[in-house]
Amino acid sequence: MSQSVQYRIGISRIVRVITIVLAFACILPLFAILFYIIKAGITRVNWSFLVNVPKPVGEKGGGIANALLGTFLIIIVASLIAIPVGIMCGVFLSENRKSRLAYWSRLCVDILQGVPSIVIGIIAYFWLVKPLGGFSALSGSVALAIMMLPIVIRSTEETLKLLPDSLKEAAFALGMPFHRVILKVIVPCGISGILSGVMLSIARVAGETAPLLFTAFGNPYLSANITKPMQSLPLLIFNYATSPYNDWHDLAWGASVILLVFVLLLNISTKLITKRWKVQL
């Protein structure tokens, strides 16, 4: 009897150790990536790296100012497209849980989430780049916006579903029209969840390369014109890392550090915002 208890205690210990080891195994790759990229790229990162454009082959120095500006502009325009559409769609899905249109939209959103990013890039190429007659940052933004949509929509929907109906009834009972109930009560009460969805979607697309390959295309010079080709961090990393020059490889490592830090900061601030702005129900 006591032997079998001993045996079970032993098993229990082993299982506990295994879970701890596996939990560490999960975070190990992240730290390995962080360590390796920072080690390879941190020497290049300084102020002039952030404010200068890349130098031609053979010249020392140069930076990634064009890619930084490009990434920010492309993401801002993509957000301007994806956030209003995504939130509205999320509101619709949470308000009309049982309607047939909502069922099909939800299904489409889920499928859209699974569409490979390169396919979205090709679609943007045929819809925008070809008709408009040239590569442009705008077409890249549209491609990224399409990728952001499912994340914004689903996070908005899931957040708003959790709000009690009594809140909506309170607003309706005060004689508020539907659009005000949504804009002044429902969305503000779910703002932390909606914002975290938005930030996660930005973090998700910030590193996307494939949809930008045949849309924003890349540009070795500083450009703020969204109707023209524009450089971005992932594109710069892709182009420079596949080049035969050591200088350019270093530049790509430096850019990787910046991109990584940007995405990490977005993720961490998402956590903080969710905590800080959470509306206590």
């Binding site: 809140l167 005060l174 004689g175 508020m176 009560v185 206590q280």
Partner: protein, 252 residues
């Protein structure tokens, strides 16, 4: 002769094919407290929500007949106007969690985009909170969130929010069923004060409460209005057998 403020004529309400309120005819006198009681599922809440057209917010819910407010049919009016004239307080306190106590009171103006001068706003907030006997308790914490208050205080805040819109009728849907006994009695005391300015219609499944607070009582059973009479008379000498059975506790 008392004047009638709300009158329903052959009012029917449905959820899909389910006929929940059957042919209700009732005349509710001004500045009285009316209790609506009956066993669960008898349609009392549905009837109440029909008065300010909240019933039809539920998918598949329909209604027909007339609900007259000062001889105007609310079924023909836009629901938004109806709800501005007929305030409502719910079973669970539901202050807006994103707004301060102050903003919760004027939520009807603020969220509807009606702009008020600072002075009017302050006056409405103080008056409304005084009417619900909450002003003294919260006057130093007006900027705190509405959900910071206790359950009973939150419910009073919700009443203040409805009162602030200066409606003619206030509907209460089991307003004390989520409150503790002390909060319940303090909310009940309010009804007495509020009836000077408003007509109160209170749904309750608590017979003692109906007896304590109301001037008239309506008894609903299986979707029908069985009896509507002075509360005292109804509790001592009901006309209908079903009312008598309910009051004496033969079914609940």
């Amino acid at each position: 002769m008392e004047s009638t403020i709300v009158k329903s004529v052959d009012y029917n309400a449905y959820f899909g094919d389910n006929h929940v309120v059957k042919n209700v005819n009732i005349s509710i006198p001004r500045n009285h407290v009316i209790a609506v009681m009956g066993p669960s599922g008898c349609g009392k809440t549905t009837f109440l929500r029909g008065i300010n057209r909240m019933h039809e917010l539920i998918p598949n819910a329909t209604a027909n007949g007339q609900i007259l407010l000062n001889n105007e049919d609310v079924m023909q009016m836009h629901p938004i106007f109806v709800r501005l004239k007929i305030g409502m307080v719910f079973q669970r306190p539901n202050p807006f969690p994103n707004l301060s106590i102050y903003d919760n009171v004027i939520a009807g103006y603020k969220l509807n985009g009606i702009s008020l001068a600072r002075m009017d706003r302050d006056r409405i907030v103080e008056e409304s909170l005084s009417k619900v006997a909450l002003w003294k308790e919260v006057k130093d914490s007006l900027t705190k969130k509405g959900t910071f208050l206790s359950g009973g205080q939150q419910q009073k805040l919700c009443i203040a929010r409805a009162v602030a819109m200066q409606p003619e009728v206030l509907l209460f849907d089991e307003p004390t069923s989520a409150l503790d006994p002390i909060s319940t009695s303090s909310v009940e005391e309010l009804f007495h004060d509020l009836k000077k300015n408003y007509t109160l219609i209170i749904v309750t499944h608590n017979m003692q409460q109906a007896a304590r607070v109301s001037d008239q009582t309506a008894f609903f059973y299986l979707g029908e209005l069985v009896e509507f009479d002075d509360t005292k008379k109804m509790f001592t000498n009901p006309k209908d057998k079903r009312t008598q059975n309910y009051i004496t506790g033969r079914f609940s």
